[in-house]
């Protein structure tokens, strides 16, 4: 009950954020964006046709009305049809979001888990060779652009110049085997890059916790070093870890997927977004932005509730 009340309060507190995101996106993309009147008409449009289209697109309405319309669309999840394919936007998203999730989630989860393990190792041996090695590896991982890794892995694993074990592009998935075929190279690329950033972050969080007084107390009472890390320290580190993991999910699903999907030609939300950007397909863009904003507010809520579960000092009031 307490959790429910708290959640409602946090959701309400998230409204300014929602409004802000939708407002700015709307302002930039739709209001200042390209005038789509002529795109949607054929050659030599008559004045009537122009006026008709403009009314349909709502260009003759004042700003606030158009913005309110947009908010209504977000609330009802009714974004109309895509300008390029004519498909209902909601259908489009329903089709592509699962693909993106299937594509990106394995890499994301593996990336974080492995990074955590490596960070624990590095912290355990800090200042000695394993630590330096892991940190050097993560600086390298951070310094190579995601794009370069994607291209390189495609060449190495999929192309004819390389190993040719995996398909170069596309997403022809109807079975688990096919899924593994198509998801492996993108996942490898994602994990490689994620390891760089995440390992460093987790290591610094863990080391900071290891330097706290309560760890000194535990050591003074003979707690063995391995147990020290896993029991005494890990739970304490959960707050920054949770924050990071939960907040990178929306980013990963939209932005990370965008690059991978565009490059490998995988029909997910990212590719759809990118296509919408290049063709100026506003209904789709509006939908993506609106959904991302909602995701962020939800993420904030999830994080806050999880904090409470993990750290008894955090109160829900």
């Amino acid at each position: 009950m307490e959790v429910l009340q708290y959640s409602l309060r946090r959701l309400v507190a998230g409204i300014p954020l929602l409004l802000g995101v939708t407002f700015i996106s709307f302002l930039l993309m739709v209001y200042f964006g390209p005038d789509q009147t002529y795109q949607l008409l054929g050659k030599n449009p008559t004045a009537e046709q122009i006026a008709e289209i403009r009314a349909e697109l709502g260009y003759d309405q004042p700003f606030l009305v158009r913005y309110a319309d947009y908010l209504r669309e977000v609330a009802t999840l009714d974004f109309g049809n895509s300008n390029s394919t004519g498909e209902l936007v909601t259908d489009l998203l329903a089709r592509t979001i699962p693909v993106s999730l299937m594509l990106i989630l394995p890499g994301f989860l593996l990336g974080n888990l492995l990074a955590l393990l490596l960070a624990l190792l590095a912290a355990h041996y800090r200042s000695r060779w394993p630590d330096k090695g892991i940190m050097a590896f993560s600086v390298v991982g951070m310094s190579i652009s995601y794009l370069i890794v994607i291209i390189a892995f495609q060449v190495i694993f999929s192309s004819s110049s390389g190993l040719g074990w995996f398909p170069v592009r596309g997403w022809n998935v109807h079975s688990l085997a096919e899924y593994l075929e198509y998801v492996t190279v993108p996942t490898l690329a994602t994990v490689f890059v994620a390891l760089g950033y995440n390992t460093r972050f987790y290591r610094s969080v863990i080391v900071e916790e290891l330097n706290r007084d309560h760890v000194r107390t535990a050591r003074a009472f003979g707690v063995p070093p391995a147990k020290l890390l896993y029991r005494n320290v890990l739970k304490n580190c959960l707050i920054p870890i949770i924050t990071r993991v939960v907040f990178t999910i929306p980013l990963i699903v939209i932005s990370g997927a965008l690059l991978v999907e565009t490059y490998f030609g995988i029909p997910g939300v990212g590719k759809v977004t990118f296509d919408a950007i290049t063709t100026g397909d506003q209904p789709v863009l509006k939908a993506v932005v609106g959904l991302t904003a909602v995701l962020f507010v939800l993420a904030q809520l999830v994080v806050d509730v999880l904090y409470r579960a993990v750290d008894p000092r955090v109160s829900l009031s």
Binding site: H214, F221, G222, V223, K235, V310, P312, R313
Partner: protein, 325 residues
């Protein structure tokens, strides 16, 4: 004072590597602690008293610091050079340490009981319910009211004084031969300080433990210790039984410290006496006596030669000075 010391420190040297060179935080310190007595390690910040305490437990942070030489014997067993895995078995069981900051000493995400029971189950092999009962009993012993409720609470729900008592209870849980308490009450307010100190004295008598109490506060020493060592710049300046130490200090530093204590009921308004000058930089130590610069009894010999403690390990009162009072 019975025959065999429970703790025997001989010529302990602890070094720290800094960017500017190697520093000797503890420079050939020797002392004994006998069962059922409290020995105070007194001195100002930086004199090496805390490092000495940490060295006994083997808790010197090892990249910058190390025990360079010397011997530390606990109940006859040599601790210096002991591999970490064996030292670890002793910590919390044969010897325990209580630290200065009660507010941060306990893990905030586990209950008090959880942390206490961990030690009891690990060293005494008790079952969960046995450990819980033992923990409740210990909490009662250190004077925490309603221990059966407190045991399930988190550290942030307890006051500083109570947290310190919990740590003390943890230290006592396995009947250690020796407890090192590093400024256990410094971070507490004056009233709580008095209560906790009283508790410590009572517990020491009840459990008949040996205790090393590290502090900068001479008042605390007077209340709790039978003997004390006065440290200065990594070395022992003087050691004696409490009464004689306070009544007839022999080292000019000790005398200076005692003189600088404000006394209740002094007739005239006077300036507080201070020891002139400052503690020398550990990276730039003089060749002779380290207190010479600030000492009213200084002469050429003091500048040239470093005085050692007179007498031997068995002497009750020792002083490291060429011109003791």
């Amino acid at each position: 004072m019975s025959a065999e010391p429970i703790l025997s420190v001989r010529d302990l040297v602890v070094e720290f590597r800094t960017e500017h060179g190697v520093v000797r935080a503890v420079d050939r310190v020797s002392f004994d602690v006998f069962p059922n007595e409290t020995v105070g390690l007194v001195g100002e910040s930086g004199c090496g008293k805390t490092v000495t305490g940490l060295a006994i437990l083997g808790l010197i942070p090892s990249p910058p610091g190390r025990i360079a030489s010397g011997s530390i014997r606990l109940a006859g067993r040599e601790l210096v050079g002991l591999p970490e895995s064996e030292l670890r078995q002793l910590r919390g069981r044969d010897m325990a340490m209580v630290f200065q900051e009660p507010m941060t000493a306990l893990n905030p995400v586990f209950t008090v009981g959880n942390q206490m029971m961990d030690i009891l189950r690990r060293y005494k092999g008790l079952s969960r319910s046995q450990a819980r009962a033992a923990a409740i009993e210990l909490l009662a012993k250190v004077g925490i009211p309603a221990p059966a409720q407190r045991i399930d609470e988190y550290p942030h729900q307890l006051s500083g004084g109570m947290r310190q008592r919990v740590v003390i209870a943890m230290a006592l849980s396995c009947d250690p031969k020796l407890i090192v308490a590093d400024e256990p009450t410094t971070a507490l307010d004056v009233t709580t300080q008095a209560q906790v100190l009283e508790q410590i004295v009572r517990l020491q008598q009840e459990f008949r433990m040996a205790m090393v109490l590290v502090t900068h506060d001479l008042g605390v020493v007077a209340e709790t210790c039978q003997r004390a060592l006065v440290m200065y710049c990594g070395r022992v300046a003087e050691q004696a039984d409490i009464g004689p130490l306070f009544a007839h200090p022999r080292h000019p530093y000790t005398a200076g410290l005692l003189r600088s204590l404000p006394r209740v009921g002094e007739a005239e308004k006077q300036d507080l006496a201070v020891i002139p000058g400052m503690v020398p930089d550990l990276l730039d130590l003089p060749a002779g006596c380290r207190f010479a610069e600030r000492c009213p009894r200084r002469d050429a010999r003091c500048d040239g030669e470093l005085p050692d403690l007179d007498g031997d390990a068995a002497s009750p009162a020792r002083v490291a000075c060429f011109h003791p009072l």
